[in-house]
Symmetry: C2
Subunit: 397 residues, 2 copies
């Protein structure tokens, strides 16, 4: 267990079996994600809102709820602290009490992936990883490349040949070793596993190490703070690997545990998982009442972040959706591209297809009455639309 | 004069003639830029560092040094508050006491243009502009489009046909009216003037209205704050229209006037204006000892932000370079592209060609001894390299 932090240990998200956090580790013996556990009483004694207010507004402001030891310098590029923008015109049009957009495009590397990689790369460096690797069909590669460059570690990134040009460019600019694979993201993942076995690289794939979730959970911590420690009624989130959804739910539990949410405010937002019609394993599993998802065959969507046919954290997501009275919904590529343009023009954010998917989902949920006019809603723009030139060029309807 | 702000009036940057700030205005009777003047005694009485520390870290934290009346809501997308990153490895390699990168890519719309447009669009809206217009060969158009969308005004953007695809895409996503012009940026400017005359649009061209400089000056305010109210020895800045250079110099004067810089710290950084060999009117004028620049014929460079053959604020820039014992230096496109890759790989920022130009200039100034090993240096990455796919594809050496 690292000294000098509030981290106590890791536990298997499925079985609860405990693991020490003093070395590099990927998944549990059961092959499931590992959850980072903290001494929350210690956090409550160390951190208060006045201290928080004095800190830089990047995600490391939440140092006590993050795993990096206090005496290790945070390798920041300015990640986190993104705006929660009220979308007045759009909210009025949709007849909502209040509508916010959490704009994750205003992050280093232009997406929310920066949060997870900032923390995971920091921990990997601290625990002695000699080099890092991920498969990526979108924004994760660029985020790894940037933070690896920041800490001076080599990054090995395996991408499908049809990866958007912007995602490849950002990896190459940051000096990462990029391999284009003639195949799918699953083929890329196989190449990463082989490279890790052969060369000792550390695998930073989604939920296949414990710390990316910890970076992502800061989205939830920030929303609570930005809403003055009240949680919204509904959070609409584009769900591929699901790290953000899992992380935010964990964040709210931790805030409640340290006493920062009012008793009346201990309600959880209803989480909405948004997926693409061409790749919606969580939507299918939710509708079927299943505890785990089945791999989506022939997955296809212009939203690279949603092209995840089978997520290792599926069972965690499904549990969160049910326990919060949430739901899961799929939208078409045409709907998400059209809605991304609407979201941009109505608010000024540069919406990505995944952000558009959230707005398209919100419209459907308003039409069905699932989202009520009394609801306060937060939807996510997870990255910059500028990284999706191909999708916007081809996907217009 | 707007009530309820510390703004007092405008003055011609050339002649000193005063103008009221209570209506939309472009340039002075002499056709020169207008400077925003404040009641700095009033600012000093209203604002202190403790108050500043409690505010959100976007540029509106500096409300008393900005022109928007206090009772008008700030139309924010989260602009400003960008990181000042220490570049340890690069600084060591260059033998510098300390090297920082101010990473403006972490702004809404991915560039420093967001700062100027946030403030200028807010003021144009407040003063009753019915619609907004700019010519743009790069990032300014996208920034205008985003803030116009934020406040609900129409934006008319005229771009040369060879504008980078990303710059055009961001304008279109935000719902702006984009016209591609078969010609140069000067032809685009003529179209803007014609449209303003015919339709009553308000022209937001660089330094042709008073408030973009005020947004840009917050880069200087932030650097001073991030260095704990000490100024660096050298600031290396890519100079097209020069708004940032002019704004930062103004910022330091205002901070000194309100007593926030130590007497010993009242020294000004030596400003370095970096231009492209294919478009370097300020470099030529500086070398010739001239007070104004001559239009650069056949201007060409992959750095869209530096493709400014004649800047209306040339005389202000030249005065700043001389009064701070600064200099002006040109680098080739090949040098800036190579250096952008180096900057990205060494620090994790996603460097644009203009950011690369600053590093290339710094190397030359180290070689010549102009930058000393005792110097603390800040260089600017003014935007995200992701918006320059064409430059990186074609410009590699």
């Amino acid at each position: 267990m690292p000294d000098n932090s509030c981290l106590t240990h890791l536990s298997c998200w499925k079985t609860g079996k405990q693991y020490d956090a003093d070395r590099l580790i990927n998944v549990s013996d059961a092959g499931k994600p590992l959850r980072v556990e903290y001494d929350l009483r210690g956090v409550a004694e160390t951190l208060d809102r006045d201290i928080l207010a004095t800190r830089p507004r990047n995600l490391w402001a939440w140092r006590e709820l993050l795993p990096l030891p206090f005496d290790i310098e945070c390798p920041t590029l300015g990640e986190g602290g993104t705006p929660l923008l009220e979308a007045e015109r759009l909210g009025r049009e949709l007849g909502l009490r209040r509508l916010y957009v959490k704009d994750e495009a205003v992050n280093p590397t232009g997406s929310f992936k920066a949060r997870g990689m900032a923390v995971a790369v920091a921990m990997a460096k601290y625990l002695g990883a000699p080099a890092l690797a991920v498969p990526s069909a979108g924004n994760a590669g660029g985020a790894l490349a940037a933070y690896a460059a920041r800490v001076g570690l080599a990054a090995h990134i395996f991408m499908p040949q049809d990866v958007p040009a912007a995602n490849r460019l950002e990896c190459e600019l940051a000096g990462a070793h990029v391999t284009l694979v003639d195949g799918l993201i699953t083929d890329c993942a196989a190449r990463v596993r082989a490279g890790c076995a052969e060369h000792g690289w550390f695998d930073l794939s989604t939920l296949k190490e414990p710390y990316r979730v910890e970076g992502k959970k800061t989205m939830g911590l920030e929303i609570a703070r930005q809403l003055d420690w009240n949680l919204p009624d509904v959070i609409i989130y584009p769900t591929g690997g699901g790290t953000g959804l899992v992380g935010m739910h964990k964040a709210f539990a931790e805030l409640e545990a340290i006493g920062w949410l009012d008793a009346q405010q201990a309600k959880r937002p209803r989480f909405v998982a948004v997926q693409a019609e061409g790749c919606c394993p969580i939507v299918s599993a939710f509708a079927a009442g299943a505890d785990e998802a089945v791999e989506h065959e022939n997955a296809h969507t212009v939203a690279a972040g949603l092209r995840v046919p089978k997520a290792i954290g599926d069972f965690i997501m499904l549990d969160i959706l049910r326990s919060t009275n949430g739901t899961a919904i799929a939208v078409s590529d045409a709907e998400m591209i059209r809605a991304a343009r609407e979201l941009s023009a109505a608010t000024g954010v540069c919406a990505c297809p995944e952000g558009g998917a959230c707005l398209a989902a919100l419209r459907k949920l308003r039409d069905s009455g699932w989202v009520r006019d009394s609801d306060e809603v937060v939807l996510f723009n997870t990255g910059s639309g500028l990284k999706y030139a191909e999708a916007f060029a081809g996907g217009t309807t």
